[in-house]
Amino acid sequence: MSAFKRDKKEEEDGGGLPFQNIEKSAVLQEARIFNEASVNPRKSTAVLTKLLYMLNQGERLSPKEATDVFFAMTKLFQSRDLVLRRLVYMGIKELSTMAEDVIIVTSSLTKDMTGKEDMYRAGAIRALCSITEAGMLPSIERYMKQAIVDRSPAVSSAALISAMHMTWFAAEGVKRWVNEAQEAVLSDNIMVQYHALGLLYRIRRADRLAVSKLVARLTRLSLKSPYAVCMLIRIAAQLIEEEGADSGSPHFQYIEACFRHKSEMVVYEAARAVVNLERTTSRELAQAVSVLQLFCGAPKATLRFAAVRTLNQVAIAHPAAVTACNLDLENLITDSNRSIATLAITTLLKTGAESSVDRLMKQIATFVSEISDEFKVVVVQAIRALALKFPRKHSSLMNFLSAMLRDEGGLEYKASIADTIITIIEDNPEAKETGLAHLCEFIEDCEHTSLAVRILNLLGKEGPRTKQPSRYIRFIYNRVLLECPSIRAAAVSAMAQFGASCPDLLPNIQVLLARCQMDSDDEVRDRATYYSHILARQDTSLYNRYILDTLQVSIAGLERALREYLDGEGARPFDMLAVPVAPPPQAAELDAKPRAALAKPPPTREDNFAERLSALPELQALGPLFSSSEPVELTESETEYVVRCVKHSYARHLVLQFDCLNTLNDQLLEDVRVQVEPGEGYSVAAVLPCPSLPYNESGSAYVVLQFPEDLPSSVATFGALLKFVVKDCDPATGLPDVEEGYNDEYMLEDLEVTLGDQIRKLGKANWGAAWEEAEGLFSEMEDTYALTSMTSLEEAVTNIVKFLGLLPAERSDKVPKGKTTHTLLLAGVFRGGVDVLVRAKLALADGVTMQLTVRSQDEGVAELITSAVG
């Protein structure tokens, strides 16, 4: 009786998850029954299922554990139980990457795949391919070729798909099965035909001409399988893009002909391909859009969904064509399928006029709670685009967003809303106060730590500059009382910013910080103590340096510098200047990857270069790497030798890294070096050749130069010549025919060393304060220029920022609409750690006039900048 009760209870608790609490060691223990002399299929099936479930949950086995259980499992081959055997195939696939000597089952599997039992064959093929290494391919080739053309569609498909997987590691071997694949592509079975095309394409993918021939041949054949036709359309569309072809191309004509195909799937695929092509004329577009329009009214929800989703995706690129479907989209707003309705509305929002915004937003509000996060993100993105397009609508959009913020939702969704609010605030000063208010309200009840921390940082940055900063303090201090340590720490930092920027709030802030010094968490206490001491000094320059400006170094660089310091056992004091600086992430980058911004920053390009360069003994005396330029091409594309240059600046040296690629298959290059004709004042300190450069490989040669003492000469143009020893070789083997090579050289394009190469961007949270502080302390240079080639303030701003390589502060790179004057504020560091602040006052009148004021710790640097612009 009691046992019965317990069973009953377990059943209720289990909630349909039979393997909820399984444990690795227990499962491995149970798997020993596989070793028993006579197999018990029922028990073994249960244990193997459990094992597979566990592996699929992400459990990892050590190589020994995996190998043991794998070999135990191979003994199950003695049972002929159908279900068990198919589970064994799955087990082999799962364990093939973890266990050793998995090829032991090769013969057993080839026997199954060629045997009489049809139920075994497809599974055996898939398992076989998962255990076969490139070197073992010949031993199964015969069976695979047979299987590809097998009369059973399941077997043929399994072989084709497996072959496709094998091209990843044995492309050459699989190529030999192309005849069989070509036979399979003629199959009557729609899946086999589709899979065969997939394999043929995979085999030829790298060779555009071969792909083109394949498409030409198959388009004439009129394939039976709609899946294959869809794939052919995709391949054809890709060819059109790659060849830069137009509507005259036979590939395009094929796609167009598919508009009349009897399968809806194919018709849709053709329309999708056309609207996504980069170069389409309005006529071609109209035809494709009218197909999608028709599908918008289709009875099948999948078709409506596909059509509206595609229209949504191309709405920004082809607004005019999509507006043609407005009526149909309006009809879909009330579609019972919420995903379709969402896409319809957001498409209308993307293309619609300002007047329709309110109406559409009201529509969305009626069902936003019913759609999944994924679609909510689509809505948020549409709102962001709208807010940027119609700044006057900010209050109704902002209200909508804040309502969405209050709803349930995952991190990605919430982060996309917060990102959008932040973007709106940054773009539109009028929206700032309301936006911040919404965010304050949101962090009162936010379960995502990373998001709360971000918003607190934003409040610390923006709050002090609002009309009434004090109103934000309460929201921030509430976090200190209620949240986890990382949020409390962020709140402490935010409060300190108010203390540093708003003198009348300082006494209150000090009281709050004093309370925080009693916090139970180390980090929170440390921050509070740190800030409280700095604020007690009442010194604005300290505030600027240690509270308002955050540490702008590359994290990986800092880590490396600290490690070196510890290895040196503190013989010398730690030098912060030796750490490469890194600018704060730009708004544009955050926009592109809102999620990445939440994660740990990856090592920057500079960090990677620094690693690589510090490995060269000749460069170790140069000190830390200051900055690295984007690569510059020094050869035309498609020449015999391809050379690109990356310019690395050190405090006093310039290292030119020449990445060279040898595209001649009958030449081996040796002792590859670049001879530069440096500008005046430069001196060559070292030349590091690349010892050997075989065909199709790239290698790097370096030239180390010392910068001229006279700063203005550092901006210069260098001549460059590639020199090397050629050894002719046999294209087939790549081995040289001769012992002795001959000298040869190759002219490269001139290389420019610019101002930007010697400067790094630096963020200044409070640029104004830094500018004032620099007055008198720094050297100042000023000059006025006429930028005749510029026709707008925006254009001037973009060019100046790019030319000087400095970071715009206080969002001064955004020029408000309709203005004729603008002030651009910039900050950065010159190599050697010299601070640079630049103010550019711009006025639009027949071109742009600019008054440029430079303040820098070093007079020479200030002069260099003013002279470089002129």
């Binding site: 070793n35 002399a37 006579s38 191979t74 003994k75 003695q78 032991i104 089952v105 013969s107 073992m136």
Partner: protein, 189 residues
């Protein structure tokens, strides 16, 4: 499970399942030996070198044999040991015409006999001095001497000269093995 099998189980006349391991160097004829134990219709016509192992079934008297036919290629010999546990007997096939590799055979045999999963047990070992039809084939007596079989004290063993292609000698050997396994099982139970 078919009705007849279930009935047979119920009556206790179910055939006993036993596992045997078939080992030996590559090309000695293991797969051919196992193939000739199978019923006419199940036999395969073209035998290719085994990669890894194959499981085959055959019957002798009322024992149902499951044979693990292992690959004898150098690369796979280390893997035999995974199958030593829980087997009831071993068939060791030797190419009696391959005089050169007889030392390798001895080495592999000794390794196997020393393995912890084998050395403790009283497993019967059946040796086939196979390819007896070849001109240069050594007699089973000479092979037994070359391998030092007389030093195996703790396990029953037997050597038969055989021709796996014609089937000659196989029956005699497998009957001995069946007998041994049957005895072993009855002692245990």
């Amino acid at each position: 499970m078919g009705l007849f099998q279930r009935l047979a189980n119920f009556l206790g006349v179910r055939k006993k399942d036993v596992n045997v391991l078939v080992v030996g160097l590559n090309n000695s004829g293991k797969t051919t030996v196992v193939n000739s134990f199978k019923s006419e219709d199940d036999r395969i016509t073209d035998i290719v070198p085994t990669v890894g192992f194959n499981v085959e079934r055959f019957q002798n008297q009322n024992l149902a044999f499951t044979a693990f036919d292992m690959s004898g290629h150098g690369r796979y010999r280390d893997l035999w040991e995974h199958y030593y546990k829980n087997c009831h007997g071993i068939i060791f096939v030797i190419d009696s015409s391959d005089r050169l590799r007889l030392v390798v055979v001895k080495e592999e045999l000794d390794l196997m006999l020393q393995h912890p999963d084998i050395c403790q047990k009283k497993l019967p070992i059946l040796f086939f001095a196979n390819k007896m039809d070849c001109k240069e084939a050594l007699s089973s007596v000479k092979i037994a001497a070359a391998l030092g079989l007389d030093k195996i004290m703790d396990k029953p063993w037997h050597i038969s000269a055989s021709n796996a292609l014609s089937g000659e000698g196989l029956q005699e050997g497998v009957e001995w093995l069946t007998q041994q396994i049957r005895e072993m099982l009855s002692v245990k139970s």
